[in-house]
């Protein structure tokens, strides 16, 4: 067992982990931050997407020990302290960007990663960026639309509700 500590959503946390403990298991089981989901556990679906030192990673395919000392952001840290949704979350709600909601934490974290570097992405850029995020409900049109809307662009011309 090794001791690790990191910043998660602005708070310093620490814990004892085995070498094999995955970052997602540390977040979910030790910190009880269960908003980060495990869809596939094989780095395909992106439901487990979190940010580590400012970039999106699949937390099912990173060791917790590798995140020792890192700055981690999860879906739980996205809303304001009073529970108000951030721009991306609000856009998902407004544009029906979720159905069952299982993929949504990963989608929101992937979207935040995209908009940070590309504040006004095209539809094609959004789709390219979401290649590693699978929605089992297949609600891609509205996910893309939500991200477009979150970037402040006109979505009235986008296909499909």
């Amino acid at each position: 067992m090794t001791n690790i500590s990191m910043t998660v959503n602005g708070k310093t946390v620490s814990g004892e982990v085995e070498g094999r403990t995955l970052l997602v298991d540390f977040l979910r089981n030790d910190l009880r931050l269960t908003g980060t989901h495990v869809g596939c556990d094989t780095s395909q679906c992106g439901a487990c997407t979190v940010h580590v030192d400012g970039v999106a990673v699949k937390s099912c395919t990173m060791l917790a020990a590798e995140a020792d000392g890192a700055d981690v952001a999860t879906i739980e840290g996205q809303a304001g302290a009073d529970g108000s949704l951030n721009t991306i979350q609000a856009a998902f709600q407004e544009h029906h960007g979720l159905q069952c909601g299982f993929c949504t934490p990963g989608m929101v974290m992937a979207a935040a990663d995209l908009l940070k570097n590309n504040p006004k992405p095209t539809e094609a850029e959004i789709r390219h960026h979401l290649e590693g995020n699978i929605c089992r409900c297949t609600g891609y049109h509205n996910i893309v639309k939500s991200i477009m809307a979150a970037s402040g662009q006109d979505v009235s011309q986008l296909a499909a509700e």
């Binding site: 090794t2 085995e18 070498g19 094999r20 995955l22 556990d41 094989t42 780095s43 992106g46 997407t49 970039v55 999106a56 990673v57 699949k58 395919t61 990173m62 060791l63 020990a65 590798e66 020792d68 992937a110 990663d113 995209l114 960026h129 290649e131 590693g132 995020n133």
Partner: protein
């Protein structure tokens, strides 16, 4: 996944020493190794992370003008920083998906030598040099068949040096489910000739299509490839495509790469 000891050295020398233990294995981005360990196809007793070694990070320009990439540099960093070699940056920007590119490394990709991986084609077509903690290996000697390389046990890729071509292009025909290359062709034109490397197609892993190299060195146009044919013999035959189909793609993609140069 079976448990293991975890070490994260900060120098190449310490990593080499840590890897001297029996059953120790290097960890790059873990994008291939961790899934393999979850399936218990690998069960190292010790994992030595290379991500904390600053001398293995980043992209720089060598004295001879080549682009030098640290062995632990992520695909995302290569995509953003290898502007001296645009075709290489473009290849890196299209590996897997953004989260995979933020962790996966060039050293991990070349050490793994997946028959459908992208980087091996760039290294072979560029006549790159694979630099390890012990020696320098020419790409022509490095790739030794599917998942097989010239690396010895415990040897670490510390840097990869790419001579910059006059023109180059990588064409990847994506296998839509895995996003790996069903077939990928990297064409690089140097003053002393053209090199063409093909990934995803052969059961022997990445290879040079020497007939196309000769034709293109004489006449660098898609038209120069017209008379050539690629045999389906020895090509990967699986549910995604037959050997004949892959052979057909090799020629189509080579033409597209030349046309895009």
């Amino acid at each position: 996944m079976y448990n293991f000891d975890f070490e994260k050295p900060s120098t190449i020398a310490d990593a080499v020493a840590a890897l001297a233990t029996e059953d120790a294995q290097a960890l790059g981005g873990g994008q291939t190794l961790l899934p393999t360990m979850k399936q218990r196809l690998a069960s190292p007793s010790k994992i030595v992370s290379l991500s904390g070694i600053s001398e293995m990070q980043g992209v720089c320009k060598g004295d001879d003008g080549s682009v030098c990439i640290g062995g632990a540099t992520t695909h995302a960093t290569v995509a953003a920083s290898a502007s001296e070699y645009p075709a290489l940056a473009a290849l890196a920007s299209n590996i897997g998906d953004p989260a995979v590119r933020n962790r996966g490394t060039i050293g991990g990709s070349l050490a793994n030598n997946d028959p459908a991986a992208c980087y091996p084609s760039a290294a072979l077509a560029s006549g790159a040099t694979i630099v390890t903690n012990a020696r320098q290996i020419a790409a022509d000697d490095y790739f030794q068949g599917m998942f097989t390389t010239a690396l010895n046990e415990g040897e670490i890729i510390t840097e990869v040096r790419f001579p910059v071509p006059e023109a180059a292009n990588y064409q990847k025909f994506e296998q839509p489910a895995s996003r790996f290359a069903m077939v990928g062709v990297f064409v690089a034109k140097y003053a002393d000739g053209v090199r063409v490397a093909v990934t995803g197609a052969s059961e022997e892993g990445v290879f040079r299509w020497t007939e196309a190299e000769a034709a293109l060195s004489a006449d660098f146009s898609a038209h120069a490839l017209e008379g050539l044919s690629v045999s389906g013999e020895g090509m990967i035959n699986d549910l995604h495509g037959s050997g004949e189909y892959r052979a057909h793609l090799v020629k189509v993609l080579t033409k597209r790469a030349v046309a895009a140069c």
